[in-house]
C-alpha cells in the first residue's frame, strides 16, 4: 500500500471537481432522467408526467416489434463478433510469428481502426449495392440473386459484414498484444520439447490467450449493441421493412422520430441493463483470470 501522500486535500478536491460536475451533468442526471421517463407517461394535453409504474415496460415487452429488434440485435452481435474475432485471431497468431514483412502486415491490419462507422457503412453499401459495381454484374449473370434493398436477410448479411470488417483491427491489436505478452521462454521450452510451430500455437499460445479472448469477445458484443448505429443508419436505415432495425436504432427512431420519450427511455434502460450485465460477466471473468505464467 502506498504511504507517501500530499496533505493539501483541498487541492485534491479542486482537481476532482471538474470531472465530477461533467459526469453528474452528462451521465448521472441523464441516467436518472431516463429512469423517470421510463416509469412515467407524458400527458397528451400537457400538464407534466404521470406515474405509470411498469406500464411502459409492459407495453414494450408485449410489442412484437421490440422482440424482433432484440432478436435482430442478437443475430447481428453474434454474426459480426464471430467473424471479427475469428479473423483477427487467425491474423494475429500468424503475424506474431514475425516473419519477413511483419511491420507492414501489422500496419496493414491496424489502420481500419481509424475509419468511422458511417464511412464503412457507405463504402459497403456501395460495394454491395445491386445497382452498381460488382454486384450489378453478378445480378446480370444470375438475375435477382442479390438485392439487399428488398431482401431482409441479405440486408442483415451486408450489415454484419460491414460491422465485422470495422471491428477486426481493434481485435487484432488486442490479440497481438496478448500474444506478445506470453513469455518467449515458454514457447522456447515447447520447441525444445519437440513441439512444432502449429502444435505450439494450439497447446501454448491459444490457451494462454484465453483471458484476452474472452475480454475481446465481451467488448465486441457490447460494442455491437451500441456502436452499430452509424452502420445501420448509413446502410439500411433499419430496413427493408425493419429487417435490420437493431435495438439502438429503434431507440433513436422511437425517441427522436416518434417522440415517444417514455418508450425510448424504457428501451434505453433495458439496453443499459444488458450492457451492464455483460460488463459484469467480463469483470467476474477477469477477476478469476487464471495466471499460467
Amino acid at each position: 500500500m502506498r504511504r507517501a501522500y500530499f496533505k493539501n486535500n483541498w487541492i485534491a478536491a479542486l482537481m476532482v471537481t471538474p470531472q465530477l460536475i461533467v459526469v453528474f451533468t452528462f451521465f448521472y442526471f441523464p441516467a436518472s432522467q431516463a429512469m423517470y421517463w421510463a416509469f412515467t407517461l407524458e400527458q397528451p394535453w400537457g400538464g407534466g408526467n404521470t406515474w405509470v409504474g411498469l406500464d411502459n415496460f409492459r407495453a414494450i415487452l408485449s410489442d412484437d416489434l421490440y422482440w424482433s429488434s432484440v432478436w435482430l440485435s442478437i443475430v447481428f452481435a453474434l454474426g459480426s463478433t464471430a467473424l471479427a474475432v475469428g479473423m483477427a485471431l487467425i491474423l494475429a497468431i500468424f503475424v506474431d510469428r514475425q516473419l519477413a514483412g511483419y511491420k507492414a502486415y501489422k500496419i496493414g491490419m491496424i489502420w481500419p481502426y481509424a475509419i468511422a462507422a458511417p464511412a464503412v457503412g457507405l463504402a459497403f453499401r456501395f460495394i454491395f449495392s445491386p445497382g452498381a459495381g460488382i454486384m450489378m454484374f453478378v445480378n446480370q449473370v444470375f438475375p435477382d440473386l442479390w438485392n439487399p434493398v428488398e431482401n431482409g436477410t441479405q440486408a442483415m448479411a451486408m450489415v454484419i459484414l460491414a460491422g465485422a470488417w470495422k471491428q477486426v483491427a481493434y481485435n487484432f491489436i488486442f490479440f497481438l498484444a496478448g500474444l506478445q505478452s506470453i513469455p518467449r521462454s515458454l514457447i522456447e521450452a515447447g520447441a525444445m520439447d519437440g513441439a512444432r510451430t502449429l502444435r505450439r500455437m494450439r497447446d501454448i499460445q491459444l490457451p494462454l490467450l484465453a483471458p484476452t479472448f474472452f475480454f475481446v469477445l465481451v467488448i465486441n458484443i457490447t460494442d455491437s449493441f451500441t456502436d452499430s448505429f452509424g452502420i445501420i443508419d448509413t446502410m439500411t436505415a433499419g430496413g427493408p421493412s425493419r429487417a435490420t432495425n437493431l435495438m439502438v436504432y429503434k431507440i433513436f427512431n422511437d425517441g427522436f422520430q416518434g417522440l415517444d420519450y417514455s418508450g425510448a427511455a424504457a428501451q434505453s434502460i433495458i439496453l443499459m441493463g444488458l450492457v451492464i450485465a455483460l460488463t459484469f460477466v467480463q469483470f467476474r471473468y477477469i477477476e478469476r483470470k487464471v495466471h499460467y505464467t
Partner: protein
C-alpha cells in the same frame, strides 16, 4: 523461431496476404469508384481499375459537401475533446492517486461506472440535458426546496438555462464525460514510485509543482496515446452531432457523409451519385488514418491500457 519451416512460412504469408486483401479490398473499390464518372461506376462489366477522374470527383465532393467548413468544425471539436479529456483525466487521476482522503474510493467508483455505458445507450436523456445544460442543477435546487426558499425570501424565481444545441460546447462536453482517459492516467500514476513523491516533498515541492514538473513530463507517452485515441473517437462521431446540430454551420464530417447518399427508402429509383459519395468518403477517412499510422506505437499501447 528456431526451426526451419519453409512450407508453413509460405502458408503463413498466404494467410496474411489474403487477410490483408480482405481488409484493403473495400478501400480499393472505394478508390476505384471515386476515380470514375458515374456512368463508368454503374457500367457492366464493372471497372476494376482506377480511372482518371479522381481529382475531379474529390474537388466536387469537397465543394458539394461543404467539406472545408465541416473539416474546420470537426478539427475544433476533435481538438476540444482531446485537450479537455487530457487535462481533465490528468488532474482527476492526480487528485485520486496522490492524496489520501475518505471519499477517494467512492469518487473513484462514481467516475468509473461511467465506463460501462456509452453515449449511444443514454442518448435520449442526454439530449434533454444538451437542450439545457443547467437542467440538472435546476432540478437539484427544485428538489431540495432551495428554489422555493429563494422565491419565498426574495421573490426571485430561479431559472437557469444554458442551451448547448448548435454549439461547440454541446458537441464536445458529452464526449468528454467518460472515464476512459482517467483510467489510463490512474493506471500510470499508480506505477510512479513513492520515493519520487517523498523526494519531491523533501525538496519542498507542493502537489501542484510535483504535477507540473514531475508527472506531466513523465506522462508524455500517455498524452500521445490519449490524444490519438480521442482524435479518432471525436473525428468519427456520428449519432451525437446528428442530434445536437441542426444549424449546418456546426456540422461535422461524419454526419455529412450520411447525407452524400440518400437513405435507402428515399432513393425513388434514382441512381445515387456513387462516384462523389466515395470521393467524399475517402476525404473524410484520411485524417484519422494518417494519425493512426503515424502514432501507431503510442496509440496501440494506450488503447490496451485504457480498456483493460
Amino acid at each position: 523461431m528456431i526451426e526451419r519451416t519453409p512450407i508453413l512460412n509460405i502458408v503463413t504469408h498466404l494467410i496474411l496476404a489474403s487477410g490483408l486483401i480482405l481488409l484493403l479490398l473495400p478501400m480499393y473499390l472505394t478508390i476505384v469508384a471515386a476515380s470514375h464518372t458515374l456512368n463508368d461506376v454503374i457500367a457492366v462489366p464493372p471497372n476494376l481499375l482506377p480511372g482518371d477522374q479522381l481529382w475531379v470527383n474529390l474537388t466536387e465532393a469537397w465543394t458539394k459537401g461543404h467539406l472545408g467548413d465541416r473539416f474546420l468544425n470537426t478539427f475544433i471539436v476533435a481538438f476540444g475533446v482531446m485537450t479537455g479529456k487530457i487535462v481533465m483525466s490528468c488532474i482527476t487521476a492526480f487528485g485520486l492517486v496522490f492524496f489520501d482522503h475518505r471519499l477517494k474510493m467512492p469518487i473513484f467508483w462514481l467516475i468509473f461506472i461511467t465506463l460501462m455505458l456509452p453515449l449511444e445507450v443514454r442518448i435520449v436523456p442526454t439530449y434533454a440535458v444538451a437542450a439545457n445544460a443547467l437542467l440538472p442543477f435546476q432540478t437539484l435546487l427544485d428538489l431540495s426546496g432551495i428554489t422555493w426558499l429563494i422565491s419565498a425570501v426574495s421573490g426571485i424565481e430561479v431559472k437557469m438555462e444554458w442551451n448547448l444545441l448548435n454549439s461547440y460546447a454541446g458537441l464536445i462536453m458529452p464526449l468528454v464525460a467518460t472515464a476512459t482517459g482517467t483510467f489510463l492516467y490512474r493506471q500510470f500514476f499508480l506505477t510512479i514510485p513513492e520515493e519520487l513523491v517523498e523526494a519531491a516533498k523533501m525538496d519542498g515541492a507542493g502537489p501542484l509543482r510535483f504535477l507540473w514538473d514531475v508527472l506531466i513530463p513523465l506522462s508524455r507517452t500517455n498524452i500521445a496515446a490519449l490524444a490519438t485515441i480521442m482524435f479518432v473517437y471525436a473525428w468519427n462521431q456520428y449519432l451525437w452531432p446528428l442530434l445536437v446540430v441542426t444549424d449546418q454551420s456546426y456540422a461535422m464530417v461524419a454526419v455529412e457523409l450520411g447525407r452524400l447518399v440518400p437513405k435507402l427508402s428515399a432513393t425513388g429509383g434514382e441512381v445515387p451519385k456513387w462516384h462523389i459519395a466515395m470521393a467524399g468518403t475517402l476525404i473524410v477517412m484520411l485524417p484519422p488514418i494518417l494519425v493512426v499510422i503515424f502514432m501507431q506505437r503510442w496509440f496501440v499501447r494506450g488503447l490496451i491500457n485504457t480498456d483493460k
